[in-house]
């Protein structure tokens, strides 16, 4: 019985699900123009969370640009990252008001606790760190955010508590 019911299936139904996300993004920019390069990279960054090697090569061939040019442009701008971020993405503001209130010390402390630098991710993919030039909330300095949750007026002690909390949640 089973044999007769399978005749409407195609070969694709037996293939593993393999969504081509980069291809889908590229398909949204049909015009081969240099000025769609940055919006394309931004779309990849937003949806994949980072710019992969595959994305650079495929975007380059789509726009008829050498991969080196695409990579050169992507590394020039701060928005693009080349490794997937951590489960918890820490953004610390190092604007002038936050610096005045000790944002530098916070960054040092995070680097020490998690053993990562600016733009890096911990080995267990739990935390990633980004130091921004200004979050625009100079009235609550120093400010940091973890995955969009803001923390204001933080001290080193408070910072340790926050990170420990996330460490506990993450290892659970």
């Amino acid at each position: 019985m089973l044999f007769f019911q399978t005749d409407h299936l195609t070969l694709n139904d037996f293939m593993p699900a393999h969504p081509d996300r980069i291809g889908d993004i590229i398909a949204r920019f049909p015009h081969v123009r240099r000025n769609s390069l940055i919006p394309l990279l931004q779309a990849v960054q937003d949806e994949l969370g980072y710019i992969s090697e595959e994305a650079i090569v495929r975007i380059g061939s789509h726009l008829s640009l050498p991969s080196s040019k695409v990579y050169g442009l992507a590394t020039f701008y701060n928005q693009f990252t080349f490794s997937p971020g951590g489960k918890y993405h820490i953004t610390v503001c190092n604007g002038s008001a936050c610096h005045l209130d000790g944002a530098g010390r916070l960054v040092e402390e995070i680097k020490k606790i998690l053993d990562i630098g600016d733009g890096e991710t911990t080995r267990d993919r739990l935390f990633s760190l980004e130091v921004q030039s200004c979050l625009g909330a100079c009235g609550q300095s120093p400010v940091m955010a973890i995955n969009g949750t803001y923390f204001s007026g933080i001290t080193v002690k408070r910072l340790r508590e926050i990170i420990n909390q996330y460490l506990e949640d993450g290892s659970r």
């Binding site: 000025n35 931004q42 928005q79 009235g139």
Partner: protein
């Protein structure tokens, strides 16, 4: 067509007196100038969200649902009091609007209980906003009478924090879009240019170039296509003017863009927003869609024969893209590197066509100038420099916020009167104006009237309008070191004087602030030489750099060397930081009376600089100490201190 939409468009095109009484009443309801039910507005801009406006919003929603109260809750922008967030405003039908400060989620139920029982909690209220045909609350100050607002003239910021940035009806109901529609109906391209030239409006991004003249050169260049670009790449740390203009009143900016595009005869405009400003992107994106929906953008706008498209582009984040040629390069899909000028973008800019790049604040000024006329604009501020300027004040001032004052106001009025000066018992040490490319200004120059020419006379400038207030607990040298390090990272690397100069400058500043014991033999000489050569290095950078970044990078160093020489001398010669901020220059001591001789500090000292015998006070050998501060952290008796 939707009757509400039609009515709004009619209002934008005619005098309100031309409308019937019923229509006017309906419009007042639409634009929330008259209310049928209570209105609660929460400041949902970045500063509000950081302070917890998201939770406040949910608490208000929960409160209304639980008690089954019919009230509207809406988002709004910031009224400028960034240190008093989350700011919440409540308006009951027929009464004036009340503003409250620091309304965190836990304070919401008690506050709303009080207001609905007509009691105003005095400790939370900021003031009331007087309005037409609205009964005032007794014993509550008007916003205009509070020192923070009294000395300001809020023209561009007028509606920020008061209207809903997602509602075109509220903007149009307050006179919005009448300027743009009268421009495309009544004036030719060059008439608009002349009008703005007559108003004397100058670019607000720091250079102070007359906006009308810039337009005229672009308008007079023959081309099949012209472009208008709004520069919203605000990445100065400590400057948040453009951000809150976009988040508070996006339609005003878009109307300004439309007017400017019309004046240069362009039907293609771009707005380039730094991608990190997510809230601004969200509001502008919504506003553009709303305008298209109303037919105020697109082809043949309201049958005038004028077409205009505005597209939003997200800047991928580079400080140098604030420079117009770099911004254009970035829009074209290249690295944001500046190009030599001339040719100016007004001749060959984006895709080789004449392009005008204007800043957010400049463009936000335009609807007001058109609506009230150039003579009105000239009556504000100074003769050669009319209008207002918005400053973002942060740092050690009592109030952090956005301040809009007429040109010609002194620093003293802004810093000491409007934002309340530094904390009681502290002394003002300096104000830093204009971000990483800005200037350190000593208290002696606080009476300087702020105009482009006046500041230039003193070799100063206002940059993007960020003012950082420094009190006597801060270190000028440390702050300058922060700025040089920042600029060093942001230099694009195209021209050598900037690429190498900013690096050298950052190194010299780093060396001044680093610990003497870490220095190899000859570096003391290098340190002196670095400081001595700083001046000639700055001169070379100023003269030979391609763009504003390299030319202005030495500003913080030069102005602070001029006015705060003694701080440098303490760092360079005496190797101490007078305000104890530069941690590496601290000297550590052990208090003989407090030390119990437990020896933990000696065991943990990585430099073996602590000597002594157990149960007797220990001693730090200054020559060996590397200043890590571990002894300070491990001491259980607080016996370690620094000077």
């Amino acid at each position: 067509m939707d009757p509400d939409k039609e009515l709004l468009l009619r209002l934008a095109q005619t005098d309100p007196s031309g409308l019937g009484r019923e229509e006017r009443e309906h419009l007042a309801l639409l634009s929330r100038q008259v209310l049928e039910q209570p209105l609660i507005m929460v400041n949902s801009t970045t500063s509000g969200m950081v302070a917890g406006a998201g939770e406040t919003w949910r608490a208000v929603e929960h409160y209304l649902e639980e008690r089954n109260i019919g009230a509207e809750i809406r988002e709004t922008g910031s009224i400028g009091l960034l240190s008093e967030e989350p700011v919440l405003s409540v308006q009951l039908p027929g009464r004036t609007r009340l503003f409250f400060r620091r309304v965190t989620a836990d304070r919401v139920p008690a506050l709303l209980d009080d207001i609905f029982h007509m009691v105003i909690p005095a400790e939370l209220v900021i003031g009331q906003l007087p309005g037409n045909r609205q009964e005032t609350w007794s014993d509550i100050r008007n916003l205009d009478n509070i020192p923070f607002f009294a000395l300001q003239s809020r023209i561009v910021l007028e509606h920020c924090g008061i209207i809903d940035p997602f509602s075109l009806a509220e903007y149009v109901g307050r006179g919005g879009y009448s300027a743009f529609l009268s421009v495309i109906r009544r004036y030719t391209f060059s008439e608009v240019c002349n009008l703005v030239i007559r108003s004397g409006l100058r670019g607000r991004s720091g250079g102070g170039f007359p906006t009308g003249l810039k337009w005229k050169t672009a308008a007079d260049t023959p081309s099949d296509q012209k472009y208008l670009i709004c520069n919203a790449e605000e990445s100065d740390p400590g400057a948040f003017t453009d951000r809150y203009l976009m988040e508070g009143n996006p339609f005003q900016l878009l109307e300004g863009i439309a007017i400017a595009a019309y004046a240069i005869g362009s039907n293609r405009a771009y707005i380039y927003i730094r991608s990190e400003l997510k809230d601004s992107v969200k509001r502008i994106d919504h506003a553009i869609r709303e305008l298209r929906n109303f037919g105020l953008l697109g082809d043949n706008i309201l049958d005038s024969g004028y077409n205009l498209q505005i597209s939003l582009r997200k800047g991928p984040g580079a400080f140098v893209c604030g420079e117009e040629t770099a911004l254009i390069a970035s829009l074209e899909g290249r690295r944001g590197m500046p190009a030599p000028k001339p040719p100016y973008p007004t001749a060959t800019g984006y895709l080789g066509r004449p392009t005008v790049v204007n800043n957010v604040e400049t463009l936000s000024n335009l609807p007001g100038i058109i609506r009230k006329g150039p003579d009105w604009f000239r009556s504000i501020g100074q003769k050669d420099c009319p209008g207002t300027k918005i400053f973002s004040i942060s740092g050690r001032s009592r109030i952090t916020g956005l301040v809009e004052v007429p040109m010609g106001t002194t620093f003293d009025v802004i810093v000491n009167k409007i934002t309340g000066g530094v904390e009681r018992g502290r002394e003002l040490k300096a104000v830093h104006v204009g971000g990483p490319l800005g200037y350190m200004i000593p208290p002696a120059l606080m009476d300087l009237e702020i105009t482009y020419e006046n500041l230039k006379k003193h070799q100063l400038g206002m940059g993007s309008g960020g003012i950082l207030v420094l009190d006597d607990r801060t270190c000028v040298v440390n702050m300058v070191r922060y700025f040089t390090a920042y600029v060093d990272k942001q230099s694009c690397g195209k021209c050598i004087p900037c690429r190498e100069g900013t690096r050298r400058m950052a190194e010299v500043m780093e060396r001044i602030c680093s610990r003497p014991a870490d220095e190899p033999d000859q570096s003391a000489l290098d340190r002196f030489r670095g400081v001595l050569e700083m001046e000639s290095l700055s001169g070379v950078m100023k003269d030979t750099s391609l763009c504003g970044l390299g030319q202005n990078a030495p500003n913080p160093v030069m102005s602070s060397l001029k006015y705060f020489r003694e701080e440098y001398e303490a760092h360079v010669f005496d190797r101490v930081c007078p305000s104890n901020i530069c941690t590496q220059l601290r000297s550590w001591f052990i208090d003989v009376d407090l030390c119990t001789g437990c020896s933990i500090c000696a065991k943990r000292c990585p430099a073996e600089a602590i000597i002594g015998t157990p149960r007797h006070p220990y001693f730090i050998v200054q020559e060996k100490c590397i200043g890590c501060g571990i002894c300070y952290e491990v001491c259980k008796f607080s016996a370690v201190y620094y000077k």
